[in-house]
Amino acid sequence: MFTRRDALRLAAGLGLSFSLPALTARAAQQRGAERPKSLITLWMAGGPSQLETWDPHPGTKNGGPTQAIDTKLPGLQIAHHFPQTAEQIQHLNVIRSLVSKEGDHERGTYFVQTGYRPDPTVVHPALGAVLARNLPDDSVQIPLHVSLGSGAGFVVPRGGYLGDDFDAFRIFEPGRNIQNLRGLSNDDRNTRRLQGLDVLDRAFRRERAASVDNTLHQQVVQRALTMMDSDQLKAFEFADETAETIARYGDTRFGRGCLVARRLVETGVRAVQVVLSGFDTHAQNFSGHETQAKELDPAFAALIADLVDRDLLASTIVLCIGEFGRTPQINPLDGRDHWPNGFSCVVGGGGLVSGQIIGATANPDTTGDAAAMKPSDPVSVPDLYATLLQTMGVDYEAEEITPVGRPLKRVDGTPLSRLLPG
């Protein structure tokens, strides 16, 4: 009986040049600030309420029943649903004055993921795709851009004009099922299948070898086989994690996603998104956010604690953000509606400073329209992303030429000096 590796070697002998890159000392094994940087985005799908997360306004009528608790960061209070995160948040920063103009889930998601408003003539790449493209790593055999968890199709970050190659690789059930990555376990049959492919390929190449080479079909299949054979696939699973660790993250889809995210970053994956759905609380906002927090709080706190423990936070940016916030007013269904005019995110690590609290929203009892409720010190998403790209060593201002010949800046913003060291 031979192994899969033998099968690949045999396939190579048949003229299919399957090759595995040498696994030498990899940059990903480094630690501290010298390590190549990664980004973990905790994506709060549906639009989390700033009032029930990082920007509570207790004691006001529209603040609702949500209480504020102290955190390890002096001067910062967050919603009482997040006692564990309160112990870790001093490693990060809180922005309470994000602004957007997109109040629809799909459009808002597009804007917050790409830093550009939807444009029917071009699809902009998500931040993770920009990173995967500009910070490549040949020693990583698994995708550099990964999305963990489930959500609407538009929640998965796309490569846009950079190419489908940079779409996030999607895992629906983190830690439980690395779908499509496992072939047949019968290596004899695998070899026969590859031999068959070779026979078909030879027939198809007749008088069109150059055209067939242009399709890159064979290379893509080979790269997929390489990935299927890679030890790095273990990053998607956690057979070697203790039950205690899994429990700390919370044995939920999102918790498992955060644990896998940490493992992927350790393996050298550049950008990971972990999705937590269910924030669209047009009704029952308060109980809804309590439920959400039960998943978010342990996972978020465990992730930061682990990154600190493993000396990975200096090289890993963590960003917790959704497509918009929710209205300061409470609607008759005890819910909150979409509110892009002033919402919160948590961001830090990867060389950013920590402990900053940026911007403030108005007292939610303030009457008036969006203008009256405008947050102080507003921060735009493109400015935030310019900050992240600069920190990660990507020229945020460089222009990419889109397939239609239109040059576009990677991000049309200016870095926030308050988040940058020195």
Partner: protein, 647 residues
Amino acid sequence: MPLRSALLPVLVALGVCGLSAWAVRSPLDLQPAASLPAAADADLASAVAGVDAAFAERWAAAGLTPAPEAENELVIFRRLSLALHGTIPSLEEIRAFESDRDPERLARWTATMLADQRFADYFAERLGRSYVGVDEGQFILFRRDRFNEWLSQQLRENQPYDEIVRRMITGTGVWTGEPATNFLTAAYANDQFDRNELAGRTVRAFLGQRIDCAQCHDHPFAHWKQAEFEGLTAHYSELQVSLVGVEDKAGMRYETDAANTANLVAGPIAEKVRKVLRQNKLNVPDEAVVQPLGEPPTQWIVCVPASDVPQMEAAAATTADVRAVIRIEGDKVRAFDPEREHVINPGGAVVRVAPPSVPFGDEWEPEHGTRREKLAAWVTHPENRRFERAIANRVWGLMFGKPYYAAAAVDDLPDPDDPVTAADTAILDLLGEDFRAHDCDLRRLVQVIAASKPFRLASNHPVQRVLDSGEDLSEDALRDLKQTVAELEREWAVYPLVRLRPEQVIGSMLQAGHLTTIDRNSHLFVRAVRFFRERDFVNEFGDPGEAELEQRVGTIPQALLRMNGEFSKELTQAGPFSAPGRIVGISSSTPQCLETAYLVCLTRRPTAAEADFFLNELEESRRRDKGAAMQDLFWTLFNATEFSWNH
């Protein structure tokens, strides 16, 4: 999702009853359809001859020897099925086609496929992407399913294309009852119509012109200035959405005799003008003033000057708060709510009133009708060549997988009068003229393209034969060869290898998993599976959205999905209802088994070398597991380059 889970058990129950009856049908002895439409008429033949002659001339001028016509008509049959139905042909269809001895059978089958409901449904989905995009939109105001159904019905009835377009631009009513209006409501975002989006889409989808980016870079059509764009946008300025659906808010427009223009003088508002505004429910504060725009003034704005602009300065009142627009149109004076005018550009810095206008062909706009009616007439006007060139380029793209003018996006054609590209786009004019001469008949356009030489050419070319020996060419020779191949492809002198779109991949895999044709006559269960499977698969495979005619290579997740996905596993499994299982059941010999599998997946028979290899595999498996061998065969066929690339 809840509907889906509720439906599935019912469908399964229905399916199990029906499947047993369906499974006993043997697809191997089907007869050709009894009543194929009459053979192509002479008029069609002459149009095709014109196109072929133009290509022959181009190829001769470029010194290119085109590829020979595809050896086996089944190859073209496969292309047709992929282009018009989004799937490869079923075994049932292949048998029927092969038993048709008519020398004009390809033309007849093109007509048959066009008459099939699958064509209408499939093309509606494809064309619909350019009209309403692929975003989910605002469910309350936008119903893609209704829109696609409506478009499909137009195609089924073979409605003239210009009429279809006019109905989209001018539609009124509720998006559920008047589905054409979804073209408009698709552009409803953040609680208002995005009129710029509508104007941009109108020009892109119907005229093959991208004007939205003219400001950002040196676009070849930079002469489409911002003002011209605003003039187009103003055609949608009266568009409103209310309880009765989409309408033109003519009620907001108050008319008075031109004699009253005497009351329009710069400065505080005369009482008569104030009355006009009140009748339009336009509330204007006391301090508001009237300012003339233009010289001589035909328009005024009613604005509240910002405190730091005490002196009015006509059009330069940049920070003024515009409350209304008053315009002289013919012998009438009309007042408008500025919300319905494109007056303030997104930066908010410049106040500008843009009356409806078109960048060229002013005379094509009729004198009467609503603004949208005028726009629709202009867009579809017989002298507006951009209209037919755009649809010819797009339909060509759907037939070949890439647009005829492949140097740019499908909706970014050069100016018809641009001398530099005139020769390159002459074929589009040729196709377009025939299209116009035949009442904008989309089916006819498809038939002309399908019968033209480029569609019939092989995708292999003798010039590449030098690579077949396996010997390495010198670097220079290889580079020259690649250049030649690229030139042949650019000039359509060889059928290009184009990656199948996701819906074609899944459609083909599903069809290959069944021996009979999956269509509206298929069992409800099969159709339901197809619907949900297709949606999930396309979702996971990655939907290119509106950019589906852009050329791209496959990705690793797609290869993984095809190789290891649940869906591939199910389809390749040799079960009692799946093709791999049924083929074993109905085949009398192993060679027949292999041949059927090849026909089902690749629409061809195996070559001698392939037969050698796979017969050996299947025979050897007699001693092992025949089911597994068939599964491996199907897996191999599904993952071959040939399966995923149109050829």
